[in-house]
Amino acid sequence: MRILIVEDEPDLLASLAQALREEGYAVDTAGNGDDGLFNAEGTDYDAIVLDVMLPGIDGWEILKRLRKTKKTPLLMLTARDQTRDRVKGLDTGADDYVVKPFDLEEIFARLRAIIRRSTNKTTNVLEIGDVKIDTAARNVAFKDKPVELTAREYSLVEFLALHRGEVVTRTQLYEHLFDENESSLSNLLDVHVSNVRKKLGAEFIATRRGHGYSIE
């Protein structure tokens, strides 16, 4: 899962990015409105965390312009907690709204919720054959036994499971699993796929040669 954070306060941006990375997300950051809008329009993020008060283009404007081209799930982040502002945010196209100061747990939960809604899933638990994926607890069980996966491996499984039945291209996987700072070495993905097959069975991830991967 790849997430964009647009926030002008550097300490907040850094700690939020760190916390989300530790949760297993690939995180891109933008420190002002212009960069934020550029990133948001150029990449298919799984979710965007957007501060309202920004230097350059402000959060409302980013939201308005982004909604003309993309439906990326978006969480507004603001210190203004007036109902009018919240209504304005939600009406302009935000999927959720969090008022500062917030708890990290709440941000995580709300992000999971808007991503889940965007993939038309109703629960946090995905069952595929013998494999059970709990997206809230971020763990995977195979034949009712918990399986140890690295964060990156979990993200791979989760992304493919959320797009079950579709062929996911390698480019898509790179876009959603790695952030802009990681070098996209082509064999890194192959290593992750091979590790997951070892842990969850060789048939769990099917290879579509010349296209990508899929989970049936």
């Binding site: 700690s15 210190a79 203004r80 907690d81 500062k100 917030f102």
Partner: protein, 339 residues
């Protein structure tokens, strides 16, 4: 009583009073005009009859010519000769000319009657009376008229006893006109004025009814006018109530900007606008201040929560503590600005 303090009601009451006075003035004048018209007509009739009787007295009927020996024809009477003393002569004979008989009697609704007397040493002697001359009037009216004319007689001022010096009295439902002739006979002609009084009564009621109707219509119209005139006041009041309840975006609807109330409304609107701007500025300031103060708290909260999520090396903890310190400094800075 709140209702009597309202401008609307006070205006209505004053307007009603003025309308009432005007209507009463008009009604009273109309009544008086009608009254003098009626009585003028009656008086004309009475005077006509008095002169008919006076002429009949001066011109005795031809058959009785030998009996009017003491009364020479008027053209033979010397102008400077004083009239003969009443006690020296017998009572003159009088007969109502037949062509004038229809002037008196009960067939007329006014029931005209006459009474002719002569003042003598022994009081008033009756010369003639009509059949319908009735007693109830006599004691009072005759006494009053007699006194009046006797005073004239005893003053020995024959020049004043000119025909045409008529005296008219009202007595209950009767109206009596009397005249004293140069030959000292007193002619009274009276009539019943019941029909006229009845008609005047009816006129009075009609005027009162019409006046009452006009008063009602006027009051209704006045009420409508007052309501209309005070409508802007009600609008201003309603807007002010909404504003005082907290809705500062309310404005008074100014339909007629040129009128007195329109100008007031414009002034009030300007005041409300300034009030709203000031209020919004204050609100904005409070929101901004809250934002500025919340950001450092968010930084520290996120930093500490992230740091505590797992075991970290000393450098990470140092970074976290430094970030928190920056957050505290920022907060202190904003706090000082708001104070």
């Amino acid at each position: 009583m709140k209702i009597f303090k309202s401008i609307k009601w006070r205006l209505q009451v004053w307007y009603g009073l003025i309308l009432l006075v005007v209507l009463a003035g008009f009604g009273g004048t109309a009544y008086q005009l009608e009254r003098s018209r009626q009585f003028g007509r009656i008086d004309q009739e009475l005077h006509r009859r008095v002169s008919v009787l006076a002429n009949a007295l001066r011109r005795p009927p031809p058959r009785r010519m030998e009996m009017g020996f003491d009364r020479p024809p008027p053209d033979q009477l010397p102008e400077d000769l004083p009239p003969p003393r009443q006690e020296d002569r017998p009572l003159p004979q009088f007969r109502l000319p037949s062509e004038s008989a229809h002037l008196f009697g009960t067939n007329d609704p006014n029931n005209f009657y006459f009474h002719i007397t002569l003042a003598t040493e022994n009081g008033r002697k009756e010369i003639a009376r009509s059949d319908n001359y009735h007693n109830p009037v006599e004691p009072t009216v005759v006494a009053r008229l007699g006194r009046y004319f006797d005073q004239l007689n005893h003053a020995d001022l024959p020049a004043q006893k000119q025909p045409g010096q008529l005296k008219t009295f009202d007595y209950d439902d009767e109206r009596v006109t009397a005249d004293i002739l140069p030959s000292s006979e007193m002619v009274e002609v009276g009539c019943c004025i019941m029909p006229e009084k009845k008609q005047l009564h009816e006129t009075a009621w009609n005027l009162a009814a019409i006046g009452g109707f006009i008063l009602l219509v006027g009051l209704a119209g006045g009420g409508w006018l007052v309501s209309r005139a005070l409508q802007p006041v009600a609008e201003i009041s309603a807007a002010a109530v909404k504003i005082s309840a907290g809705d500062l975006s309310q404005r008074i609807n100014v339909a007629e900007a040129e009128s007195e109330l329109g100008q007031l409304a414009a002034v009030l609107n300007a005041t409300f606008a300034r009030l709203e701007t000031a209020f919004l500025l204050q609100k904005q300031f409070a929101a901004d201040a809250a934002h500025e103060l919340r950001t450092p708290v968010s930084v520290m909260l996120t930093q500490t929560q992230t740091a505590l999520n797992r075991e970290r090396d000393t450098a990470s903890y140092k970074q976290t503590v430094e970030a928190c310190q920056r957050g505290l400094r920022l907060r202190e800075h904003h706090g000082n600005r708001c104070a």
